[in-house]
């Protein structure tokens, strides 16, 4: 794995994903059309039926696109660029996802299955929010401190898992699943405490983080696009460097690939378990921090949404490689942003996006299926990452 970051990325490698995406959109479209009463009413006249179906799915997807990338309707005189608002939304959504995805990917490379990104995300968000609204510090410093606080708490929450596994052998899958629930309930509790209540209000919404702790906007006040996405990209490069260019990453990958040989070579597997989970936790924690400091600003019980689990999907979709994870997250960010608009414009239930996401991952993970559908015997494909099951 000592290829430079970009060599693992070629246009040719994008053909399959593109086809996989098209395929998924097709099935999603079928679902939209066939569950649309206006379409079903025309079932008796084939032609009209197909027209209606096409229209139904077409409109939904047009809205999806407009909500995700570019919507001319938003352009105002002398402000054509406003049409790119949706793109900004997509990137805003992608930033935390990239970071959380990297968390899962890194742990995976070290032979650990981190289902706990959700909980680590929550603690990261909690810490960042607290530092963000409670303390007063100079601009910049405040931001850094808040982000670090989130990273630290996330890394503690994650490192705990590694430590438990190293010490007692408790399986990380069990522990992380349980810790996710614990983190959620802890969040619900702390939001009710006076420290986290807005003075004079009693609903569980933490005060907004102060301006001094917010990630700077990148494209002016018309867009929510903030430095979070840059942080995410930077961290992706960092993770790539850590995994492929450092002795620590070497240990991670070695222990992840073959514990016995690693032990024999003097690599301390307990060290790998603990530190890998700590780093993974830190990344997920940072994701939470970026979410709170970048676009969410106020801590709520739903702050983590489904990031921690989407993170697993994008990491696996990205074959546990940094670049792949970034690309996968961008795709998911766009789908997420588009979905809201799609529902607003065409009343298509937002959940269809889940179906599309699932199908995309499925087809990309199964190149042979796609190839056989599109008759592409020749196309060479990188083998997926091998699952080692539970024994790591």
């Amino acid at each position: 794995m000592r290829k430079p970051l970009l060599r693992s990325f070629s246009l040719r490698a994008l053909i399959l994903p593109a086809l996989a995406f098209a395929l998924s959109m097709f099935f999603g479209g079928l679902l939209i059309a066939l569950s649309d009463s206006n379409v079903l009413h025309k079932a008796s006249h084939p032609i009209a039926f197909i027209k209606a179906a096409g229209a139904s799915a077409g409109n939904a997807y047009l809205a999806l696109f407009q909500g995700a990338i570019f919507d001319p309707g938003l352009a105002k005189p002398h402000q054509w660029y406003l049409a790119f608002g949706p793109l900004s939304e997509s990137l805003v959504g992608a930033a935390p996802l990239i970071l959380a995805g990297l968390s899962v990917a890194l742990a995976f490379r070290a032979g650990l299955f981190n289902i706990g990104a959700q909980g680590q995300f929550i603690f990261g968000a909690m810490a960042a929010s607290y530092v963000g609204f409670h303390f007063h510090m100079p601009i910049g410093i405040h931001l850094v401190v808040a982000a670090l606080a989130g990273t630290l708490l996330g890394s503690i929450w994650g490192g705990m898992v590694g430590l438990l596994k190293a010490r007692t052998g408790a399986h990380e899958v069990i522990v992380t699943i349980m810790l996710n629930y614990i983190a959620l309930y802890f969040l619900q509790w702390i939001l009710g405490t006076t420290t986290f209540l807005i003075p004079g209000r009693n609903d569980p919404i933490a005060p907004p983080v102060l301006q001094s702790a917010r990630l700077p906007l990148l494209a002016g006040s018309n867009f929510r696009l903030n430095a979070g996405i840059l942080v995410a990209f930077a961290v992706a490069v960092f993770v790539w460097w850590l995994l492929n260019r450092t002795t620590i990453g070497f240990k991670f990958r070695a222990a992840g690939a073959n514990t016995f040989a690693s032990k024999t070579a003097g690599i301390s597997v307990p060290f790998v378990m603990t530190s890998a989970m700590a780093v993974a936790g830190a990344l997920a924690g940072l994701a939470g921090a970026v979410h709170v400091l970048g676009d969410n600003f106020q801590l709520t019980s739903g702050v983590a949404g489904n990031f921690g689990f989407d993170a697993i999907t994008v990491a696996l979709l990205g074959r546990a490689k940094p670049l792949g994870t970034v690309l996968a997250s961008l795709l998911f960010g766009a789908l997420g942003a588009g979905a809201a608009a799609m529902q607003a414009k065409t009343n298509t239930p937002i959940d269809i996006v889940l179906v599309i996401q699932a199908l995309v991952v499925l087809f990309i993970a199964a190149p042979d299926v796609v190839k056989s559908i599109f008759r592409l015997k020749s196309l060479k494909t990188a083998g997926g990452l091998v699952s080692k099951g539970w024994n790591g």
């Binding site: 069990i174 699943i177 996401q357 993970a365 699952s387 539970w390 024994n391």
Partner: protein
């Protein structure tokens, strides 16, 4: 005794933990409290034979009594351990004693419907047991099954809708397994035929089912609720005589058909796994597929079959959520129990009874926290809700320790690959 084996060290850690806990319980629950108030245990749910109706006892003395039992238990356990004998029974007694000691303390001045407490625990673990059985089925033959959640949800959806459309719980029950099987068919197809990473697959299938059910729920079940989502529910069937057995009767033998089928399923899976030709082959395929292949066993066909069956089990378990409990389907009503089931399977070391034990532990802990938060505790509600999850972590790290999955679990089998 120097140089203990890892297993022994773990067991010793267990014994010491129990001993210390018992002592703490005796002091903390038995001696310190201001005393005075009574705790009342209720032992009757229905018109079963009444052994004792209620048992009223001083909270303090009860705590002492049970903590005492726990201490005895841990001493016995230690002696057993020295004698290198199994400490299962002793530890069971100790844990029970500890629990009762704690309960008597926590419920001072309160009424604890003991039978109901246990019955509730059982009910809460029903989906977990079905789920973990599905896990065991497929993972024993070497296919990692993270799709349990999806299989449960699919089963719940299908059985709910069908029961509603046909006004028949029977049809609901009959359809559920096939809904689960549809999901596990995808799992089998992609994992075995296209040898795709099974962990990715499991996750994605869950997402897929979430998406599909949410979508259809909004598009069909809400608008046309009266026809699509108003299913009937199963009534409990009392097993003649048995259900009257004091305490146990109403817990185990006054349940819906789903629960009875669960009993049979667990026993059947255990027996077939360890006593039959099918079981031998299944385990062989999960441990050393090449060896199985070299004696003429069709590895992938067997795996395919088992994964499908696993899906049917989980799917049937899903029916518990709808026809087994509330009738109508609710959005994402499995609420992550498929993952708890997954944990229970690992916790139970891929053995049917182990998984059942883990599921019961979780279900019971969950219901205990429910009952205690009703009778009233000073502990904030969110921390009460955490209890079962914390308990699981303690159990896993304190007593279970390192677990070993079937050797070939998660590894697709292709002939001629490197042996």
């Amino acid at each position: 005794m120097k140089n203990l084996s890892a297993a022994e060290l773990r067991r010793r850690r267990g014994v010491y933990t129990m001993a210390i806990l018992s002592l703490l319980a005796f002091i903390g629950f038995g001696l310190i409290p201001a005393s005075g108030r009574n705790v009342t245990y209720g032992f009757i749910l229905d018109k079963e034979w009444i052994l004792i109706h209620q048992w009223v006892i001083g909270a303090k003395s009860a705590s002492q009594l049970f903590a005492g039992i726990a201490m005895l238990g841990s001493i016995v356990a230690y002696m057993q351990f020295r004698a290198r004998k199994t400490i299962r029974v002793a530890s069971a007694i100790t844990s029970a004693g500890l629990l009762m000691s704690f309960l008597s303390w926590a419920a001072a001045g309160k009424f604890i419907p003991f039978t109901g407490l246990l019955q509730g625990g059982l009910l809460l673990s029903v989906p977990l047991i079905f789920g973990s059985m599905a896990g065991v089925m497929s993972e024993r033959s070497g296919v990692v099954n993270i799709a349990i959640e999806g299989e449960l949800l699919a089963g719940a959806f299908a059985s709910g809708v069908i029961a509603s459309l046909t006004h028949s719980t029977t049809w609901g029950l009959l359809i559920a397994p096939f809904a689960g099987a549809m999901i596990s068919f995808l799992l089998a197809l992609f994992a075995i035929k296209y040898s795709i990473d099974q962990i990715i697959l499991g996750f994605v299938l869950n997402v897929l089912v979430y998406g599909l059910t949410d979508f259809l729920y909004k598009r069909l079940l809400i608008p046309y609720q009266s026809t699509w989502n108003s299913g009937p529910t199963l009534q409990p069937l009392k097993i003649p005589v048995l259900w009257k057995v004091p305490i146990l009767g109403p817990i185990f033998f006054d349940q819906t058909i789903i629960v009875y089928i669960m009993y049979l399923a667990v026993i059947f899976i255990h027996l077939s796994l360890f006593k039959t030709k099918w079981g031998l082959r299944t385990r062989a395929v999960g441990e050393h597929p090449t060896a199985a292949d070299s004696v003429g066993i069709n590895v992938n066909r067997l795996r395919f079959k088992n994964v499908i069956i696993a899906g049917m089990i989980a799917g049937f378990g899903g029916a518990y959520f709808t026809v087994g409990a509330v009738g109508s389907f609710g959005k994402e009503m499995t609420a992550g129990e498929g993952f708890i089931a997954l944990a229970a399977m690992i916790f139970g070391r891929w053995s049917p009874w182990g998984a059942v034990g883990a599921s019961l532990l979780f279900g019971f802990a969950d219901n205990l926290q429910g009952v205690l938060s009703i009778t009233g505790t000073p502990i904030p509600s969110q921390f009460m809700l955490m209890a079962p999850y914390i308990a699981t972590i303690i159990a896993v790290s304190g007593f279970v320790g390192r677990v070993r999955a079937p050797a070939a679990d998660g590894a697709p089998y292709k002939r001629g690959g490197n042996a």
